[in-house]
Symmetry: C2
Subunit: 396 residues, 2 copies
Amino acid sequence: MSVSLSKNFTDMKPSAVREILKVTNDPGMIAFAGGSPDSHAFPCAEVRAVAAEILERDPVSALVYGVSEGYEPLRQTVSKWLKKRSDIGTDDDTVIITAGGTQVMDIATRILTSPGDTVICEEPSFIGSLNCFRSHGCRLAGVPIEADGMDIAALERTVKANPGAKFIYTIPNFQNPGGTTMSLEKRKALYRVALENGLAILEDDPYGFLRVDGRDVPSIKSLDTHGIVFYAGSFSKILAPGIRVAYAVVPKSAAGAFTIGKQVSDVHTGVLNQMIVSRWFDEYDVDAHIEQIRKIYRRKLDLMCRCLDEYCRGFITYVRPQGGLFIWAKLPDEVDMLEYVNALLKERVAVVPGSAFMTDDTAPCSHIRLNFSTPCDEDIVKGVKIMGSVAKRFKK
Amino acid sequence: MSVSLSKNFTDMKPSAVREILKVTNDPGMIAFAGGSPDSHAFPCAEVRAVAAEILERDPVSALVYGVSEGYEPLRQTVSKWLKKRSDIGTDDDTVIITAGGTQVMDIATRILTSPGDTVICEEPSFIGSLNCFRSHGCRLAGVPIEADGMDIAALERTVKANPGAKFIYTIPNFQNPGGTTMSLEKRKALYRVALENGLAILEDDPYGFLRVDGRDVPSIKSLDTHGIVFYAGSFSKILAPGIRVAYAVVPKSAAGAFTIGKQVSDVHTGVLNQMIVSRWFDEYDVDAHIEQIRKIYRRKLDLMCRCLDEYCRGFITYVRPQGGLFIWAKLPDEVDMLEYVNALLKERVAVVPGSAFMTDDTAPCSHIRLNFSTPCDEDIVKGVKIMGSVAKRFKK
């Protein structure tokens, strides 16, 4: 006998893509498939110092139950910092601390949708969020992205074709996996489309602070005069992912429901974790730290681009992203992408098949996603060289 | 304009009970309404020592992404420890680490139910879990508890009346709020009823190690020869709640879905948090620590019972629990329970109205829940004295 599972979960069947993803973390693999920050970018000594101070001076506060909305000093720090750096948040918004950015998507989906509802998303988009929406029984309607973000005409058609859709999910900065950054004009257009059609917007911005070229574009949340945007930010990429601290900026009208959603999910985010982030802001210069890690990623992005240009010329094409952690690399149309990915795996180079990021992961796809933050410089060179030599077997 | 919320959340309206719960945490209140462990029971020095050691020796491991199933050394430690202490877990089970016990209820509900499905629960039962089930759109069917646990005849009637119900939720040890412990005979009967009717069992056991009198009763999970029991245990009550580390013992047939459920919820539990618990087991005698905190709770339970007997005789009746953190106290039938609770609040004594724990929190209820772990000894005496003096106004 075995337990019978909800349809939302039995529908999430193993796919060719998932079978590949299983082996991408094997030891000895050159890790172009991950999404972890460079571990040299972690402020280890600073975390050690503030953790020691907290557990010396105030261990009980770090160990008792907290409130679902989050540790109050951290909420206030995040609120002020976001306002100053990105003009995000008004008196009609509430900052709620979550256990990582994915939890913002999860709680927003819980409170905004019912099974069978449609979520409109970019195509391609982050597999973790797509699976989250799927796990709530949501249908996905994909809108293609262009070099400057969502195809707005396609968005309008998709909204018309899906009356009753609940929200638009977007990663406007250094999109995962597409690498694109949405222009201000398109952000405004997307906001207008949402407003006119009674849709909420879920703006996922884990990479916003990791810009390596060009100038910041205002967030959609900063345009939110009507309280329809849920903004998700995270400390995973600027402090460290294992600490699991992120935040949502939520319209006040939805803050009560969001808090209940947090409460029934896990009561509250670990208090020690939140205090570490809070004290890190108090004791150190977080903005200067961000400048440091931007330098690391600029250097690694440059390196991977140079290697692709040298070793994979005529086989892989890509548009250099202005930030983030990923390059969205296109193979020649005539190449079987999954065959190439499997051939790379045999040579111990792990990349993510682009189809993993599609609303229908069985549809044809010529892209792969390459991560340049996790591997060391040496592995970037070695891995792209292997990509080039394997490519030779696929060229006509 | 405001966003439109899912029906499961708009249905969770403010109630008289929730209005009371809002003020129970006000500073200056004597806290009989909480559920926190005694902060003197936290192993602060031990947490400080292992955290320092982890962040000194292996900070990167504590800060990188972890896997959804949990930190492997902790999974193995928990697995061995549960087997030895409680005969829980077989080769057909998987231990998965969660961010607190509530997350086990949440993920189990996600993977086992669809909106509209029925969950069978004890009546009264833990409000946090009931709200979790409600947030997933589940209907609750309550089964009264007796001094030795669920009324099995009523359970059988409820199961018959609710064909297609998905699982039975039970807190067999020192039930929250009822304080009752289910007898072995009833555990066996409950298991049989579930098995015969194709129901899963969600066994919530946060207090199991906090026995102060009598002998342990085998868990329902230890009787699970057919892989239908999801067991939830936690470090919130034996280490500290703010650390948010708990675990599920899940039948292998559901482990894949449970892991996906964890992944889409929050990717993984904080790695530092898990490493702290893991190293705590390696470096210290956890079983001896548990013996120490049992002594603390035995003393505090004794104290509250003596005070109730002295100051509230003839007004409050209760059955002394064999462990846990709560006394389920009955007022005379003719007393308006909410009026008494509000009168106590005015005197700065916070207790939880029993109706908070009912499937229908507007139905009449003569009980209140008293917590004896959070308040200090002095407050226990002072608070129960106030309860007695307020009671005089309510006596006929």
